[in-house]
């Protein structure tokens, strides 16, 4: 069971990293004025939000390796599918929070002759965090829950291990009950407080106080 928790957390961390990268890239692409870039990002986001995560997972694990002739380990397939899926949701959050930065901030930065990179890094990005983090925290709790799906492509995560135990000992109540409680503890007492702390930190950094 403990190995399973480790794998679940590893899945969580890998897919979070991938999801953050993807949501940044596609979130910024969604703001592009170039029709092609905008189109690519829109298609990507609508595709991954429009189909089920489980289908994407199966597709990446069973179909993709055949198509491009590679062998993909279940662990990689798992976090890649999770990351791609949640990155699509995250991209919309990134887009929304960048749009929420007042336009005057862009204008002021431009009038101070800041380069675009400096403008993003020093002015825009720090201000997006207070808007970005609350929905992103929800997304990450969803992501933690979604990691249970990777057990279906035989990643030996927490839920996979509990299914194995269930088949060995035939104690469904204890086994699945324990799994539920562990997921609850991970989400409620580890992930949520950490994200809450990040939110407060980010708000304080831009001089806003919450809670």
């Amino acid at each position: 069971m403990f190995n399973g928790i480790g794998i679940t957390i590893a899945q969580m961390l890998c897919s979070t990293a991938l999801a953050i990268i993807i949501s940044l890239i596609f979130g910024l692409m969604r703001l592009s004025s170039n029709r092609l870039i905008l189109g690519i990002a829109t298609v990507y986001i609508e595709f991954f939000r429009g189909t089920s995560l489980l289908i994407q997972l199966y597709w990446i694990y069973y179909v993709l390796p055949l198509l491009i002739n590679i062998s993909l380990e279940a662990f990689y397939a798992g976090f890649i599918a999770l990351g791609l899926n949640f990155g699509a949701y995250g991209a919309e959050i990134v887009r929304g929070s960048i749009q929420a930065v007042p336009r005057q901030q862009w204008e002021a930065a431009k009038s101070l002759n800041m380069s675009p990179i400096l403008l993003m890094r020093r002015i825009i990005i720090p201000q997006t965090f207070p808007h970005l983090l609350p929905p992103f925290s929800n997304l990450l709790v969803e992501l933690l829950k979604a990691t249970a799906l990777v057990s279906l492509i035989s990643v030996t995560d927490l839920f996979f291990m509990s299914k194995v135990f269930n088949q060995t000992y035939w104690m469904s109540l204890q086994v699945f009950g324990t799994a539920l409680i562990i997921y609850y503890i991970l989400a409620r007492f580890f992930l949520t407080p950490f994200l809450r702390w990040l939110e407060i930190l980010a708000a304080r950094k831009v001089g806003k106080l919450i809670g």
Binding site: E46, A146, L149, F159, L173
Partner: protein, 225 residues
């Protein structure tokens, strides 16, 4: 391996997948219907003045919301028989979907009710409206447009979560694709087609819901940007 897309095979399995789609839609519809009522129960539980009920409902909602649907499915399906309650896979799935999405919907309801300005309640009291009139004529019509986007999102969400039901053996779209795949050792067509079917259904639904939101908002005299 058999890599090429075979159209004849795709057309051969299409009827089976379409039957699966019907069951998927049914599962999503019934699950959502149950969730609407369970959501109401949870919402009422969270709004009562009885401290114990209030607190307990909150904890239950929090627990269901922060644990995976997949694990809950297994829990309901495999644990209930230990207490002498036998669910068919379909019933277990409906109960789990209803409970899981009921907790989400209760939050949506709660948010929508809280979005109605307090003065509206006070005005109702001042005019000596009955409870049913307060809710029916004043509060709910104002809360509904606020709740609608959230409710719509979860309708699409429940639809996208139905493939999980295949894991406890409910015969729906995903299960049909699995069956086809394991009988013929061809996974390319069934899984790809399932993905496309999901896109075909969920994108227009999401679009239609967005249209509905603007229509309802306009009727309430609240113009959306």
């Amino acid at each position: 391996m058999n890599l090429e897309w075979r159209w004849d095979f795709a057309f051969e399995i299409l009827p089976q997948l379409l039957w699966g789609t019907v069951y998927t839609l049914m599962a999503a519809g019934i699950g959502y219907f149950i969730a609407i009522f369970i959501g109401l129960l949870f919402m009422l539980g969270q709004r009562t003045r009885f401290y114990v009920v209030n607190r307990a409902t909150r904890e239950v909602v929090e627990f269901i919301r922060s644990t995976p649907l997949l694990v809950q499915l297994f829990f309901v399906f495999f644990v209930a028989p230990q207490f002498g309650i036998k669910f068919s896979a379909w019933n277990a799935a409906m109960i789990t979907l209803g409970l899981h999405y009921g907790t989400y919907l209760s939050e949506v309801y709660r948010g929508a009710l809280e979005a109605v300005p307090k003065q509206q309640w006070e005005a109702c009291k001042a005019l000596n409206f009955s409870v049913s009139r307060t809710y029916g004529k004043i509060i709910l019509p104002q809360a509904f447009p606020v709740a609608l986007p959230g409710m719509g999102n979860y309708l699409v969400g429940i639809f996208k979560d139905t493939p999980m039901l295949a894991t406890i053996g409910v015969v729906e779209l995903m299960q049909s694709a699995n069956t086809v795949g394991s009988l013929t050792y061809r996974f390319l067509e069934p899984y790809t087609m399932v993905g496309i079917i999901f896109l075909i259904i969920s994108l227009p639904t999401a679009f239609g819901l967005r249209k509905l939101e603007t229509v309802v908002a306009k009727r309430q005299g609240i113009s959306k940007k």
